[in-house]
């Protein structure tokens, strides 16, 4: 792993091992992930698998029929949704819906607002997708789901680590980011915790990597396309007022990302405007957390 000492890796492992009751994702999600990477899988196979889980099916159909996707006619079957959206999009929706469900009910300190956490996550997913549309179209799907899940480490810390309240208090007292406060108290930021959890859930590396490096993109040269979209999306969303839970300061843009994307006033303004429009249509995603 780039820029991570053996000592730090051991620290993360110990932290994760000490967390009892790490949530598991429904087995259907693991099977969907496996099937979508099999070239012989067809839409009907995945549709049948998802349809056997009524709760997941209804979530997927509600999202697919929302203003965000803007289909002119109502989609009534998961198989049809897969044909229209593609495997990746439906897989990503299933994954995200399951992650939210896994953490919705877990106890969290009063300082952690779960709805605000999910609102920020949805906004970053949308912003990252907007950035990808302009700069890296092949990364659109990965950018969207990576944005949705980039802060999953934060909810692990909030739900399962005794240091959580101290981290939130320190961030508030010092008017700084959750990441800086977590590094001071835990010796690592939430990206490292989130990455380890997503490995535990057997997420593909294309999801694990951005979760680990969104906070510090300068720590890696791999998957820069997806990472840049999510990192920039995170900052734009914070600037637009949908601040991350536990943040009392702005995260700072990595200059490498700025240079790679050749950003300027006009492009930033356009990305912000399109993110606001996208978020306006994303109510169905926010409702996953209610």
């Amino acid at each position: 792993m780039e820029e991570q000492s053996a000592g730090q890796e051991a620290g993360i492992e110990e932290l994760i091992e000490n967390v009892s009751e790490l949530p598991t994702l429904p087995s259907v999600v693991t099977r969907i992930t496996a099937m979508t990477s099999n070239p012989q899988t067809n839409a009907a196979d995945i549709g049948k698998l998802i349809s056997n889980d009524p709760s997941l099916s209804s979530k997927i159909l509600r999202l697919v029929n929302s203003a965000y996707y803007g289909f002119p006619r109502k989609i009534t079957s998961v198989t049809k949704a897969i044909v229209l959206l593609g495997f990746n999009k439906v897989k990503n929706i299933a994954l995200s819906a399951s992650v939210v469900e896994a953490f919705k009910g877990s106890g969290k300190p009063p300082e952690f607002d779960f709805y605000k956490f999910w609102e920020h996550s949805v906004a970053v997913g949308i912003a990252a997708e907007v950035v990808a549309k302009h700069y890296s179209p092949k990364s659109i799907d990965d950018a969207f789901v990576g944005g949705l899940l980039h802060d999953v480490g934060k909810v692990v810390i909030a739900s399962f680590m005794p240091e959580a309240s101290s981290i939130f208090e320190l961030a508030k007292e010092n008017r700084t980011t959750f990441s800086k406060a977590a590094e001071e108290i835990l010796g690592m930021h939430e990206g490292e915790v989130g990455a380890r959890l997503s490995e535990h859930w057997n997420f593909p590396e294309v999801l694990v990597h951005p979760i680990r490096y969104t906070v510090r993109p300068q720590g890696t040269r791999q998957m820069r396309d997806v990472l840049a979209c999510i990192h920039l999306g995170d900052i734009l969303v914070s600037a637009l007022g949908m601040t991350a839970a536990g943040d009392y300061a702005m995260p700072l843009i990595d200059w490498g990302v700025w240079d790679d994307l050749k950003l300027d006033e006009e492009s930033i303004e356009q990305l912000c405007a399109e993110t606001l429009v996208g978020f306006h249509n994303a109510q169905a995603f926010l409702e996953l957390a209610s």
């Binding site: 734009l236 600037a239 300061a249 702005m250 843009i253 006033e265 930033i268 303004e269 912000c272 606001l276």
Partner: protein
């Protein structure tokens, strides 16, 4: 604030301090732009230099904000929701140095996008 000779001052520069006569009466208020006629009158009256508000560097956040504000109708600029929004954005960026030009660009452009959205929703622009 900068003292500039009337021989070198740029027409259109903004006065940083009022110009007073020998009896302390204000001839020209602070904040007024210097026209060609005003420069000529001041020279005739024996003034040698004036206190001018420094021009923001064209690439500074301040210049960006002025430029963006200049593109908006006054009904938008002084709407109470817009003013509150600017305050909120400024507060969010409390940890960002003025010298961080990239983050300042993000601040000004995010603010502009939010203001445009309010203006559209209210039919102000």
């Amino acid at each position: 604030m900068a003292l500039v000779s009337l021989d070198n001052v740029t027409v259109g520069s903004i006065l940083a301090a009022p110009i007073e006569d020998s009896l302390g009466r204000i001839l020209i208020n602070a904040g007024e732009p210097l026209t060609e006629q005003l420069v000529a009158v001041l020279k005739k009256r024996g003034y040698v230099e004036v206190d001018i508000r420094p021009q923001p560097s064209p690439h500074s956040a301040e210049a960006m904000e002025e430029r963006v504000a200049g593109q908006m109708a006054s009904s938008v600029q002084f709407d109470s929701d817009v003013l509150r929004l600017k305050q909120a954005v400024g507060e969010r960026f409390h940890n960002v140095s003025e010298k961080n030009s990239r983050m300042q660009t993000i601040r000004v452009m995010a603010q502009k996008a939010l203001i445009n959205r309010i203006a559209q929703q209210k039919g102000l622009a």
